[in-house]
Point group: C2
């Protein structure tokens, strides 16, 4: 009985708390250092204000690559290198415009807040003018498919306010942004506008990636601000409405993008590595501050903090600023492809791509056993905000790596009630990020990476 | 053994989960209704934009009283009444100014971001000019007490960035705002300026209440923005610096304030009541949006939601918009004094006064047994943000009631990383409040009140 009891006590610490006093001390040291000497807020200022929005293929993205490389060198990475990958090169091409030009047969001129969807092709020069067919969802379009020919279809699918996790509403309404143009084209529509994927109280238009069906006409596609979507929908319920839509998107030939990879070399198991990252590209509307400047600078902060407190990881750590998350995921795919050809083995991947908001924990896609081990560390991270480690989650960029190697993929889970207010808009700027919230996210990431490095 | 086990199983649900399926359904109904039809964001807009800052004794406070009374009537309260209380009547009296006028014997003119502390008395007309004695803390002033005579003492006590809960830093540095003037006066100082109680990245000056020692001279007292505090401290380290300080605060005779009390009458135990509240007064610098417009409108939202979902509480519920929290606490004291004279008995009190940010739980001052019962409800509230119910906490306004009757006092615990950036400044405006974060706070409050009503 005594022996069994002792074994029982031994087992638990062995899995998780072998050296809890020193663990909590080191995490506290990291926290104190980040909150006192943290550089991520300053780095974010550089990335957003000196460089700005960083669309794949743009000069700004290239500036960001060189900036990230230099910054990680300055932080004392053992090595920093650029991993080239072929990327799509979509350009917005001009100022998007959507104007109601006729209501009930009467000429009007009402400009709407609009943005072309990423990867969409522009209207003909000067734009198109057509009657609007306003529908709430795909089912309503099906029901009215005979009326779609020659019209601009307006998908006004609402962002469900009753979901506590706004990402769930985003997931649901995402189909209209991604597939709306293809489905409307099937019925002969000449363009689409969608209600922006947001529940905000303002009128910013939210861009984001879409895709065509190559066997159907590639019609222009844009998103409207929520207030204007409400107005347009109400007008369309009462009378015929004509919309003038002008967008300019086109593709240049594929070009080269780069994952920026900083490495801290492991002291005991250098051939095994942990990947930590965020994505360096962003949409062009704002400054890509929360999406995903925050993840980029938090990734760099983890490296800086480890150096600052003198923590030398057992495993190697890759700090990766990924290319082309927004409209292609070519950076994440290339990183996984190269990793699969190498001898070194990844053991764990962590991404921050849900905004630089106050941290509440992590979401992890892994086995129940590993999830239980991760959860046993919650008491060590709870003082810094990690109240839970949810099953599921990870990040788009680390997904290909994690799936190929069947390793745990975790994502920082900030409180994201404000995320979809600014996501992919002009409002995603430096000023929308709170310094302490950003730093606290980095602290929780550093704590988790430290524990994985020590105990996995 | 079997009997004991059954009893054990019985005890837990009896205390907490007797009807969990219906409980979770009702809380979900409340949540859906608040997120879809919630009025608190609109009410907050009225309170902040149509009325504005609501200093005790000001016309704006009186407007807010009438507004609150009408709004709770419109929401269908069984009764709404005003509870008068005598309140102090401090007025700012003019535009505060702090200007560095001499550095190292050379004339200069550098205006600093400044605000007089609440309840402080103004300088003589035209202001005072004196050399600055810059110290980090009381100990440093003690060490240099001989130099204080005739000077303006500058307390530059830092807001500790390493505390994860910013309220802890606020508590620590609060002594300089509250007692700095009295302590400096003891050594013959002619005025004080303090570093604002904040860790923000901007330069807003933060007001807040102070108190004099009646047996010492009542010297002027003001707070500086953080950037200017940093500059002034650096200058004072290197050279003699003269500051011109001009403030205008004074007291008018005491006047009358009002707690606005809306009541839903209990269906089974109407003589027992639950108190839910926030404070209606605010500082004058901003609009009192987070502090405590949020608590006011969340309190009203709880009432609205109960009516909307048809929940008729067993106990009576007092929805209280308290007077004079900021510079006297006379509203909370009067509410408790009147309650103590009445037959009706309070059973529980809840306050929201830590900002309208995303909710993370509650802090509750109560017995370990009652705390355990409250914590047993976490699973019912967790879907809406309540990850924890911490020991300790409550609210200033409900404190006198809770202490007199020895009842549990709980405070909504929002994520408050941003709170002390804007607290008591010009930046505490409607735009700083996020609609969903505000509504989610109200949902968790309503859920807790519902559970207390049903099971306490």
């Amino acid at each position: 009985m005594m022996k069994k009891l002792l074994l029982g006590i031994w087992m638990v610490p062995c899995m998780a708390f072998a050296q809890q006093p020193s663990d909590s001390l080191l995490i506290k040291q990291i926290s104190d250092d980040v909150l006192t000497n943290g550089k991520s807020y300053t780095l974010l200022h550089q990335l957003t204000k000196q460089i700005g929005g960083r669309l794949t293929g743009s000069p700004q993205f290239m500036k960001a690559v060189l900036w990230g490389q230099q910054a990680m060198k300055d932080m004392g990475a053992d090595t920093v290198y650029l991993q080239a990958c072929r990327v799509p090169h979509w350009v917005r091409g001009g100022k998007d415009a959507a104007t109601v030009v006729q209501m009930n047969g009467r000429k009007v001129k009402k400009s709407l807040s609009v943005t072309a969807l990423g990867n969409s092709l522009g209207t003909k020069p000067g734009g198109i003018t057509a009657q609007v067919l306003a529908v709430r969802d795909f089912a309503e379009l099906e029901a009215h498919q005979a009326e779609a020919k020659g019209k601009i279809v307006f998908f006004n699918y609402p962002f469900n306010p009753t979901y506590i996790i706004p990402g769930r509403a985003y997931g649901e309404s995402g189909a209209y942004r991604r597939n709306g143009a293809a489905i409307a084209a099937k019925y002969g529509a000449v363009g689409i506008v969608i209600r922006s994927l947001s529940g905000s109280t303002d009128n910013y238009a939210h861009t984001g990636v879409m895709a065509y069906n190559d066997s159907l006409p590639k019609i222009p596609a844009a998103a409207l601000g929520l207030q204007d979507a409400d107005s347009l929908f109400a007008w369309c319920q009462r009378m015929p409405v004509q919309l003038h839509l002008e967008t300019h998107g086109y593709f240049l030939p594929d070009t080269i993008g780069y994952n920026v990879i900083g490495v801290l070399k492991g002291t005991e198991l250098p051939q095994q590595y942990i990947t930590v990252g965020g994505h360096l590209d962003s949409w062009d509307e704002g400054e890509g501050a929360h999406d995903d400047g925050a993840g980029v600078v938090q990734t760099m902060e983890v490296m800086r903090a480890f150096k600052a407190v003198g923590y030398r990881p057992k495993h190697s750590i890759h700090f990766v600023l990924f290319a082309n998350e927004e409209n292609g995921l070519r950076g994440g795919n290339e990183y996984a492809r190269v990793a699969a050809m190498q001898t070194d083995q990844p053991i764990f991947a962590l991404e921050s791509d849900e905004g630089g908001f106050t941290p509440r924990g992590f979401g992890c896609s892994t086995s129940p056993e590993k999830l239980a081990a991760l959860r046993s560390w919650i008491p060590l991270l709870q003082p810094y905000g990690t109240d839970k480690i949810a099953a599921g989650g990870g990040g788009a960029d680390i997904g290909p790596l994690a799936r190929h190697f069947n390793i745990p993929a975790c994502g920082l889970m900030p409180d994201n009630q404000r995320y979809f207010d600014i996501h992919h808009t002009k409002a995603d700027v430096f000023e929308a990020v709170n310094k302490r919230e950003l730093l606290l996210g980095a602290i929780n990431m550093a704590g988790l990476v430290y524990l994985v490095d020590k105990y996995f």
